[in-house]
C-alpha cells in the first residue's frame, strides 16, 4: 500500500521539483502490449529498487501469445512489483501506480487500481484505432470516467519521436523505445540513480549501439520530463529496507531452481543430468542450465516429455543426479516414467512448474491443481515424495532438498513450483557455500553379499549399483520384483510385501524431516494452512490479522508427502483450520482424510495468485464475532 509515513526531504535544489514524500512501500504495475518491452521495463525498475536496498517482490503476468495483434486486449502483458523499506511477502494485491502504455492495457488493468491510485498513461497511444481495439467507444482520458484516479497523462510517443528524429532509426524502432520514457519518468518520480541504469541499458543493448543510444536518450528525456512537467504534486522516496547483513542478488524462482540443481550436484560431488522439453513456464530452467555445462551439468533438450523423464531415469541408472522439469501438460506425460522410477527404486527429481489447467489451460497463469496428480497420478500403488518451494528464493533450497531425499531414499521426488514462483523474483541473501550441508551418496561397490533389492534397515532404500561395477551385474525393470533378489515375480505375497515396502520407504522419510513450524501462537482460534507458492500472501494476511488482535497462526507446508510428523498435532491445537489453495481443495481433502479435522477451504482458480485481502476476509468470516476489530479504511 502506498502510505506516506512522514513527509520530509525537500527537493534536490532545482526549484521546480516538488516536495519529496517518504513512503514505506509502493506497488507499481506496468502494462502494455507484449511487444512494448513491459517485462524488460519492470525488470529494470526492479533491479534499481533492489540495488537501492529495498525489499522487493515481483509478479510478471503475461499472455501465452508471443505477439498478439498490437493494441488488442489479448496482447496485454503486465509486470507488478512491490518495493518497500520493510519486509514484503508478495508483489501486492493491487497497484498504487498503474502504467498503461495503451488503451487495451488500461482496460484490462484498471479494475485492479484502487480509487485515488496513480494512473500513468501514454496519451499518444490513445488514438482511434487503439481505442476501438480495446473496445472503448469514447476516449477514457477525455470522458471523465477516470475522475477517481490521479491521472498523469503525457504523449510518450510524440516525445520519443521528437527526441529521435535524427537518430536514423525507423518509426517502428523509435516507437519501441517508449517503455524507456516511462522508466525514466518513474526513476525521477521515485528518485532512483540514473547512472547505473544507463550502464545497464548499454550492457543490454551492447550489440546494437544505435538502439542502446536511443534507449538511453529516451530514458533521459523521460527523467527530464518529470523534472520539468508540473503534472506531479510530489516525488517519492522509499528507503532501503533493514535486510539482514550480507551479499544479495535478485533472483526468480526458475533461476533459483536451476542454481539449486547445480548446487546439489556440487554438494554431492556428482554429475548432474537435466532433461526437459520446452514448456511454459518451465523452459527457463532449461535455458539457465544449458549455459552451465562447465559446472558439471548435462542439459538435454529431449524430443518429448516422455524422453525427458525416461532419459533422466537412464542417467540415474548410470549414477547421475537426474532431474527433469516441466509444467502440468508435460507432467502427466511423464507419469508412466515416474512409475518406472518408483518400481526400479531409482533417484529422480521431477519439477512441475504448475500452471492453470486442465489440458493446455492458461499456460502463463499460476495454479496449484496438480497436487493430487503428483501424489496419485500413476497406475498402481505408486508412492513418491512431494515437496513444494514457498518463495522464489526457497526454490534453491528446495532443489537441494529434493536431490538429497531422492538419492538417500532411492525414490522419485516431485517438486511442485508454480508460474508465479517461477517468474516472480525477490532479493536473495546469498548463502555461504561452505555452510551448505554436503549430500552424501554412496554407490555400491562390494560384490560380497550384494543383491539389487537388499535394503538399508533404516531408510529401506536399495543400493545404488552402477553399470561398470564389476561383480554387480544385475537386471531391473518395470515388472514386479522379488524383494532382495530383484528377480521378476508374480507371487501374490511378494507383490503385497513390495507394495507396502515402497510405501513404507516413502513414509520413513518423515523421520528425517524437521518438524513443521507454526508462525504465530501454537494454539488459537484459527490456523491458516497453505502449501508452496501461496506462502507470501498467507504470511502477510496472518500478520495483518494478528496486528488486529486475532488469534490466528499460519502453517505453510513445504513437505506434502510424507507430511511432517507433527502436522496432525498442530492442526488439533486450533479451533478452526482454513486451508487456502489455488485449486478446488486438494490439500484440504488430504488433511481432512488424514487427520479427521473439519478444515474449511479457501479456493481460488482464476489464474492469479492469492491476494492478501481475500485471505483476510475469509479468515474474518470464520472468526467468532467480537474478536475481529473492524479495520479502519
Amino acid at each position: 500500500m502506498q502510505q506516506a509515513s512522514n513527509s520530509e526531504r525537500g527537493g534536490n535544489g532545482s526549484s521546480p521539483s516538488p516536495a519529496v514524500e517518504e513512503l514505506e512501500s509502493v506497488v507499481i504495475r506496468f502494462a502494455g502490449d507484449s511487444g512494448d518491452g513491459i517485462q524488460l521495463t519492470g525488470g529494470e525498475f526492479t533491479r534499481a529498487a533492489a540495488l537501492d536496498g529495498n525489499d522487493i517482490a515481483t509478479y510478471p503476468d503475461y499472455p501465452a501469445e508471443i505477439r498478439a495483434p498490437a493494441g488488442s486486449l489479448a496482447g496485454v502483458s503486465g509486470f507488478q512489483l512491490q518495493f518497500a523499506s520493510s519486509k514484503v511477502f508478495t508483489a501486492g494485491d493491487a497497484p498504487d501506480v498503474l502504467v498503461a502504455m495503451n488503451p487495451a492495457a488500461l482496460k484490462t488493468n484498471l479494475s485492479a487500481l484502487e480509487p485515488g491510485g496513480m494512473l500513468l498513461v501514454d496519451e499518444g497511444a490513445f488514438k482511434a484505432k487503439n481505442l476501438e481495439l480495446a473496445g472503448y467507444e469514447q476516449n477514457p482520458l477525455e470522458d471523465g470516467s477516470l475522475a477517481n484516479y490521479r491521472v498523469v497523462s503525457a504523449d510518450f510517443s510524440k516525445q520519443v519521436s521528437a527526441a529521435l528524429q535524427r537518430s536514423g532509426l525507423s518509426t517502428k524502432e523509435i516507437q519501441r523505445t517508449r517503455n524507456f520514457f516511462a522508466l525514466g519518468l518513474l526513476f525521477w518520480l521515485y528518485q532512483r540513480p540514473v547512472k547505473p541504469e544507463i550502464d545497464s541499458i548499454r550492457r543490454r543493448f551492447g550489440r546494437r549501439p544505435e538502439i542502446a543510444d536511443a534507449n538511453v536518450k529516451v530514458f533521459e528525456i523521460g527523467y527530464q520530463f518529470g523534472e520539468t512537467t508540473e503534472l506531479f504534486q510530489a516525488r517519492y522516496h522509499v528507503s532501503a529496507a533493514k535486510l539482514e547483513e550480507g551479499h544479495y542478488r535478485n533472483v526468480t524462482g526458475n533461476e533459483a531452481t536451476a542454481l539449486g540443481i547445480v548446487a546439489a550436484g556440487r554438494l554431492a560431488d556428482r554429475p548432474v543430468y537435466y532433461a526437459s522439453y520446452p514448456i511454459t513456464p518451465a523452459s527457463d530452467i532449461l535455458h539457465h542450465l544449458a549455459g552451465m555445462t562447465r559446472y558439471g551439468v548435462t542439459a538435454f533438450q529431449a524430443e518429448d516429455e516422455i524422453a525427458a523423464v525416461t532419459s533422466a531415469i537412464g542417467a540415474s541408472f548410470g549414477g547421475a543426479i537426474a532431474v527433469t522439469g516441466t509444467s502440468g501438460p508435460g507432467f502427466i506425460l511423464k507419469q508412466e516414467g515416474i512409475g518406472l522410477a518408483v518400481t526400479t527404486e531409482l533417484p529422480l527429481v521431477v519439477i512441475n512448474v504448475q500452471r492453470a489447467g486442465p489440458s493446455t489451460g492458461m499456460p502463463t497463469k499460476p495454479e496449484q491443481a496438480d497436487l493430487l496428480q503428483a501424489l496419485h497420478g500413476r497406475n498402481g500403488e505408486s508412492p513418491v515424495a512431494v515437496i513444494a518451494p514457498t518463495t522464489p528464493v526457497d526454490c534453491f533450497d528446495t532443489m537441494i532438498e529434493a536431490v538429497r531425499l531422492a538419492t538417500q531414499h532411492m525414490c522419485p521426488v516431485m517438486v511442485l513450483s508454480d508460474g508465479a514462483l517461477a517468474n516472480g523474483s525477490e532479493p536473495w541473501l546469498l548463502p555461504a557455500i561452505e555452510g551448505l550441508e554436503p549430500i552424501r551418496i554412496e554407490y555400491r561397490s562390494d560384490p560380497e553379499g550384494f543383491a539389487p533389492y537388499l535394503r538399508d534397515p533404516d531408510t529401506l532404500a536399495r543400493p545404488w549399483a552402477l553399470p561398470g561395477t564389476s561383480g554387480l551385474e544385475h537386471r531391473i525393470g518395470g515388472l514386479e520384483k522379488e524383494d532382495v533378489t530383484g528377480n521378476v515375480s508374480y507371487d501374490p505375497e511378494n507383490h503385497e510385501h513390495m507394495v507396502r515396502m515402497r510405501q513404507a520407504k516413502i513414509d520413513r522419510i518423515a523421520r528425517r524431516l524437521p518438524p513443521a513450524e507454526v508462525f504465530g501462537d501454537e494454539a488459537g482460534q484459527l490456523l491458516l494452512v497453505g502449501w508452496g507458492g501461496t506462502f507470501g500472501a498467507l504470511r502477510e494476511a496472518t500478520r495483518t490479522l494478528r496486528s488486529e488482535g486475532c488469534a490466528v497462526s499460519h502453517l505453510q507446508l513445504r513437505y506434502l508427502n510424507p507430511l511432517q510428523s507433527n502436522v496432525g498435532e498442530i492442526l488439533s491445537a486450533f479451533d478452526q483450520v482454513l486451508v487456502a489453495e489455488l485449486n478446488c481443495g486438494q490439500l484440504c481433502s488430504i488433511l481432512r482424510d488424514r487427520f479427521l479435522v473439519d478444515a474449511k477451504r479457501l479456493n481460488k482458480v482464476r489464474g492469479q495468485p492469492l491476494y492478501i485481502r481475500e485471505i483476510v476476509e475469509a479468515a474474518r468470516s470464520l472468526l467468532p464475532r467480537g474478536t475481529v476489530r473492524e479495520l479502519r479504511v
Binding site: R47, A50, L51, G53, A240, L243, E244, E245, G246, H247, Y248, R249, N250, L259, V262, P271, Y273, A275, M292, T293, R294, Y295, G296, T298, F300, A302, E303, I306, A307, T310, S311, A312, I313, G314, A315, F317, G318, G319, A320, A322, E336, G337, G339, L340, T344, L430, I433, P467, G468, S470, G471, L472, E473, H474, R475, I476, G477, G478, N487, V488
Partner: protein, 341 residues
Amino acid sequence: MSPEASAGLTRRDFVSDQAIRWCPGCGDYAILAQMQKVMPELGIQREKIVFISGIGCASRFPYYMNTYGFHTIHGRAPAVATGLKLARPDLSVWVVTGDGDALSIGGNHLIHTLRRNLDLKILLFNNRVYGLTKGQFSPTALRGMRTKSSPEGTVARPFHTLSLALGAEATFVARTVDTEIQHLQEMIRRMAAHKGTALLEIYQNCPVFNDGAFEDLKDRKIKSDHLLVLEQGQTLRYGAEQDRVIKLNPKHMCLFPGRADEDDEGVEVVHDERAVDPTLATLLARCEGPEFPTPIGVLRAIEEPTFEERSMAQVEAQRRRLGDGQLSELLFSGDRWDVDQ
C-alpha cells in the same frame, strides 16, 4: 577397450540364471544365442555392457544376458539408453526392441535417437506382429494381414524400417534374418565396431502369431532367389548361380530385378555402404518381395562424430573460454549488492 579386458570370457559368462520364457521355436532364441556367442569376442568388459529394452517379447532379452540390464517401458528404451549414454559415455549400451515397441509407441524416440547419433546399438526384432498382446497387426504388418484387430485385413501400408531409419539420418543401417546365424553374428560385430547409433533390423519369426512370415528367406531350396546379400564394393547379384541382379534404371531413378547378361535399360551398381548420399541405400531399403529379393547386410555405415563427442567438445570449449565452473562464482554472478549494518 583392450581385448585383454574380456580375455577368458566365454559364451557361458553371458548367460544369466533366469529361465527363458519365450515360446518354443521363437526366433528370439537364435538371436540370444548369437549375441551370447559374439559378446566375448568384442573385447568389452562384461560390467561395461548394458542391455536396455522396452516392452514386448523381444524386450525380455536383458533378463537373459548376464550383463547390466534394464527392462523399461513400452517404446522408451532408446530414450533411457540416451540418458544412460550421455551420463556414462564409458558404457557399451545396447537397445533391444521390437517392431511395435520401436516403430509404433516408441517411433518418436527411435527417429530422434537415430538423428542424434549417440554411440548406441539398437537391435530391432521385426516379426510384423504384436506377440505379447496375442496377435494384433504391427506397423510392419503387410497390407491385408488378418489379425484379431484386423479381421478384414489391415488397411494401412507398413513401414519400411530401414527406409525410415535412413530418413532419420541414421549413420549405420543393417538387416539380417534370425536363421542366418553366421550373417547375424557378423552384423552384431559390425554394429559393435560402428561408432555412432547402429540400427540392425532382424527379421524374426513368430511361430505363434505370424508363422512363416519370412519363409522365402529361410527355405534352403529357394532362399537364394529371395535374399540379396549386400557386400561392400560388390554388385547386387543374387540367385543360386549369382546370375540375377538388381539394376538401376537411371532414367527413372529406380531399381529393378534383371539378369546379368540381359541388355536392358539398367546399369549394374556397386554397393557402397560408406556413401554419404543415402539415395541408393534408401532404394535398397524399399526392395521387397515378391518382385524383389530382400537385401540383407549393411546398407549404410558412415563415419560421423557422435552426439556425445560434439557435446563434450562444446563443454571443453566453454571450459577453456570461461574456466572450470565454481559454484560460489555462479551464485555471486549478476547484479549484486551488499548490506552492511
